[in-house]
Symmetry: D2
């Protein structure tokens, strides 16, 4: 790929930001707040827009319902538009109601399942109000002790509940279903792996896809292999990018294992799946193969907006390197059984310092070549810290 | 379940033994031999028959081709029949030929793939000669370094090769495809998880099923959950029972985590999948849900026949406990959201000492109540050690 | 060991309960409350006393400072004494102050380190007021990102801070230092393993010991091996018993892997370390080898008092089985290189149903043979649910 | 650090090569041979010398006894000297004798322990004959089943055996003791972690140090933290560099996680431990803090000499990046609690493409800037493949 082609591809890449990354988050031990943390969805969107302003690569914001419930979505959408961003995926929240102690869509009690399904109707309303076309489900459902519930029946209930949720969607909407190895359930999790998510999506229909959160796997799992499998099945709906050293640490994308992020992007580029396939694109097909590249992170100890900026630039770096892989040479070495030669071709791209290329990209877009420095210089953090006095800082509870 | 019902269920349970467990095995560091180790398939079958003789629960022996190639399979089958056992699953070997350095069914070289497919034709011939109806594939295929080969193309080649192998089967035969997390490949493995195996089986047809080896998962994986998923999909073809503390340790079934084995059998019993569903049963349906319970172990430091006896009795213990679970009480507690009560019902069965029940079972079958003691008292180990002098002891190489 | 000897040993065993197990706990996603949850340390002690009342094996309660701060410790101790229990270990809390965002005893800022040390002086005051002789430290300290702080300097600061804390102790007090693999820090943890904890204890002096929390290890870690090492070094101060399938799940002891708990107790019994060695014993030597067997759990979805009762009885079951191991026969088999024979001796004890023996133990102590049933029948849960209206339920924040 | 200082530091760095990396190796499933594989220690040394010839950074070769036993070590040393390399560490082999089935230095049988100790006397003889000053022990010792042997007694035996081995050393020799999480033992391993190795080294004396093999840890272990701990204790004797995705995969150093290798070297540089501290250096102190940087790898599917070259250059790249870290800026950011700023300083070095710098280094040393290309162009592989006909290729058995 020529340098121009790489720049063109990078220019088209976009990454969706999670509104909740701008609120406070933490561990079960402690949530540390920071001055200037948003108090409502409008302020979250404002912060997200800063990330796009300086990176030029993050034009959408995911909402989390009910955390981001507002009275007037037209107003929120207008606020976003004013700042150059749009509303992206709508995330259903199934983990903060006392009724969900033993599960939401898989709960043994039909009343609770109905309530959980009804929450999705509310989400679909938000989708209609905001123009969002993607409904994301992540279930905390599972059990903590062997015997606590019947594993098979939980799958049957899940299948039935998902059918109902899927039925709520308009024809131009799609459902993406996330899996997670463990937490908050500690014995069994109802959607613990890509196989389970895929089986349910296959049963639902073409507009059901799998979400791959890079932190949701067992130790040692080859994530890029799963990317390949889901792309091959036409069912990779979205990424939740973040990184981890241990469990679902939710660190910044690319921070813990930048080589893994590169390998993931290498498979994406190889499959031609980098091209925008998100709902805001013209020609959007909810049953199509488009992948939504989203972040899902917790900035427990670092500043939030800079944490998002760094994550976006880390994904861009990994992408740029993946675009630089000499795929013709790679194929030649692979076909020749030249293990080291093939590995060298890949590593040659990885070892390349692509920061000058990304600086060039940004300058060609009228952006500062160093988004982090430019944001810091803007004084935004200090300004919001000064202005956002009073009220309750947003967090996972609101 | 009444005690009589439990005994009836246990009486019908049967477990298949791997011929290779009677040969020498070890680690990459060292293979320790023991006196009396079989030198050929006939002696392996003789040893396997000892396990059945004392447990009454292990009437079949899996063969591994080419390790168990013989000139006259009629003679081998007759030898088995004389000793009260039959030939079970035929295992294809794809990991000991220099040609397979970069893969067998997924090799970039079409000549090697054709060779690997042809090996299965040889296996199917053995199946016809022995009356076996089950062809088992475990692939060592994968790569050691990122970039070494194209992950996506390897899947495509695999799909094509599997189609050819599947096409070799007679209508009353089935193919079972095993997955494994890693080893011998250390970067990517072509069939690393149940999702991948299942996707390929779904593409092949009804007579393709998944093999779950209990040692082939990432740390922390909830194996009984996978059992549930595969049973729900009608695609759990067989178990390879063994146990592990770390990786694919291939220790005796039930030795490392007897509670896990119990939980697995609890799901099996709950799904009604314990009932014999193996090719030797009347009414065998190669497309049906029957599960073949096999052992696959390496007795690196312990005696082999006693190691197999203990494994069989461990599976029986776990099964007996699973049969004793008060499923009505369990359901009541589960429906009531009584976490501890439900767990207690399960643990009540697990804590039960079922050895008296198994002794009763054996006595009702005309067996010694203590298979291990009876085998030791038989002098067989000493006798074979004295008799099997000369020749080359069987191992993974032969 | 004769049955009488086993009963005698079991009669002497005692297990310390954590006050915080009776308050609410959960995950970062959600904390579920339950009716009747204590509102203050007095109610927590009352609940803990219920566990002792029905098991006869849990005579002490650990406090957590500042969660369990009260104005008058004489009154709290008297309350405990009235209910037949005493105050045990005092736990310092270093994870809920905004100042500790970047560490407590390892914080780069000397002011924060001094504050953290001062908190221990407060804890020592509580020890003096309650008669407690054991100060327990668990540090959440660590970093989330490579480069965030200097790993080596954090160890140096830790060593210095610990010296100061150690210097606060009276001569008949000891310090126990807990290690944890990860969480809440996600890149580096300052005391991540037994080696680190031991090195610091060795530097401090004879009255510094290691705490082994059974949930604080990497996947696959052989915990009983660490028990052996720490006992051999004379530095196993205490256990925090709980169980886990994945990370620090904090499930009930013995719930996830009862065989592991048995193996741990087998090493304890083999080393003669079961005999009471806790501060409340006559002849207590703070520099001696006594091990304090404590629970540290989170009853996220199950009832708390029953959860503690079950955990205590699980530890008792494991202990009883360990006491039943025929150590003479074990030694003979081990010396003979009889792998299966030695394993069989161990498993023979494990497979034994010791519930009748424990029932006999309890009856000999004037207790109901079934503590769980007796507690349920007492109506305590309903009574406290009715009475404890208003106020704020205790949790990790208070 | 200025570019000149970086070059100077890199020029002094040296890496020791393992003779066995040039022989065949594989998994328990299969060992693939390659044309030209050495048949004896002389040919192995010849191959090792090629790595040094093209990298200028690998001047020593470790031997493995008895694999590398020769009649005349003077001749072997002279052969090495002719090729510009020297003999480094002597590795004792305790895993290939039938007597070691149940352990070597920890075997229950005193005769076997004496034999294992005696093997070290043989190794010390080789050390005297070759001028080697470093004896490396890695024990395969452990058990496969709970109960198989007494864990505590194995430690006592180990301590006693190690004392005897240590007593064999001349005053200017040192002993380095490697630990390993698991394999070939699958239940307990006698030296499974750095804590155990360190405890034994502390008991032995100043000339006993720990070997850290980067592939010998539980999943998720923070290896650079262990580096810090061992350096702080003055007991990091040597590295065995390699890389892994799963277990002890023994892939090329830096191949699986180049960022981890960089973090390790960052701690080494930060502690001033990069400076040569190997026996061949003037002023060598066997009780001093010098770290020997060795490779220990298995080139199962890739060419061996190129595999070693790539590993050496990967270590060099990681080192160069570590040297480029702006430590003053790092400290400022760390002290300021600037999480992202500190991480950025580290990542800035990591993202730098140091290949031009390494090319400059090599040219300044009179070497080809691209060692891999130069070696390939030399025709050595083809030449040895043509010449080394007949005989038995070296492997783990010889």
């Amino acid at each position: 790929m020529t340098s121009d082609q790489v720049l063109t591809a990078l220019r088209e890449q976009n990454i969706e930001l999670p509104s909740w990354a701008f609120g406070n988050s933490g561990t079960r031990f402690k949530v540390f707040g920071t001055p200037g943390t948003p108090r409502d969805p409008f302020e979250k969107v404002s912060d997200a827009a800063q990330v796009h302003r300086y990176t030029g690569a993050a034009p959408r914001v995911s909402l989390h319902i009910p955390w981001d419930l507002v009275e007037d979505y037209g107003k929120l959408a207008a606020h976003a538009a004013d700042l150059g961003v749009t509303i992206g995926t709508i995330n259903a929240n199934l983990f903060q109601d006392d009724d969900y102690k033993f599960g939401s869509l898989t709960n043994p009690d039909p009343r609770v399942r109905a309530k959980a399904v009804a929450h999705h109707a509310e989400c679909v309303d938000v989708m209609r109000a905001t123009g969002s076309k993607e409904l994301k489900l992540w279930l905390p459902d599972g059990t903590n002790y062997p015997g606590q519930d019947d594993l098979r029946e939980r799958q049957d209930r899940l299948a039935e509940s998902l059918q109902q949720v899927y039925g709520l969607l308009d024809d131009d909407m799609r459902l993406v279903l996330e899996y997670k190895f463990f937490e908050p359930a500690f014995y069994s999790t109802d959607v613990p792996d890509w196989g389970t998510s895929l089986l349910h999506c296959l049963a639902l229909g073409d507009r059901a896809k799998v979400v791959l959160d890079t932190g949701h796997h067992a130790p040692g799992t080859n994530i890029e292999f799963i990317v390949v499998q889901l792309l091959r099945a036409g069912r990779l709906g979205a990424f939740d990018f973040n990184s981890r050293f241990y469990a679902d640490d939710d660190l910044m994308a690319g921070a813990a294992d930048p080589f893994q992020l590169f390998r993931v992007m290498h498979e994406i580029v190889g499959a031609g799946a980098l091209a925008p396939g998100t709902p805001s694109d013209p020609g959007w097909d909810p049953a199509g193969p488009g992948v939504n590249f989203m972040l899902d992170q917790c900035h427990n100890v670092e500043d939030k907006i800079p944490g998002q900026i760094r994550s976006v630039t880390n994904v861009q770096q990994a992408t740029a390197k993946a675009l630089l892989v000499d795929r013709d040479a790679l194929r030649v070495a692979q076909r020749a059984g030249d293990v080291l030669g093939a590995n060298d071709v890949l590593m040659d791209a990885y070892h390349t310092d692509v920061r000058p290329l990304l600086a060039e990209l940004r300058e060609s877009q009228g952006l500062d070549p160093d988004p982090m420095a430019a944001f810091k210089a803007s004084g935004y953090l200090q300004r919001t810290a000064d202005e956002r006095i009073g009220g309750t800082q947003a967090g996972w509870g609101a």
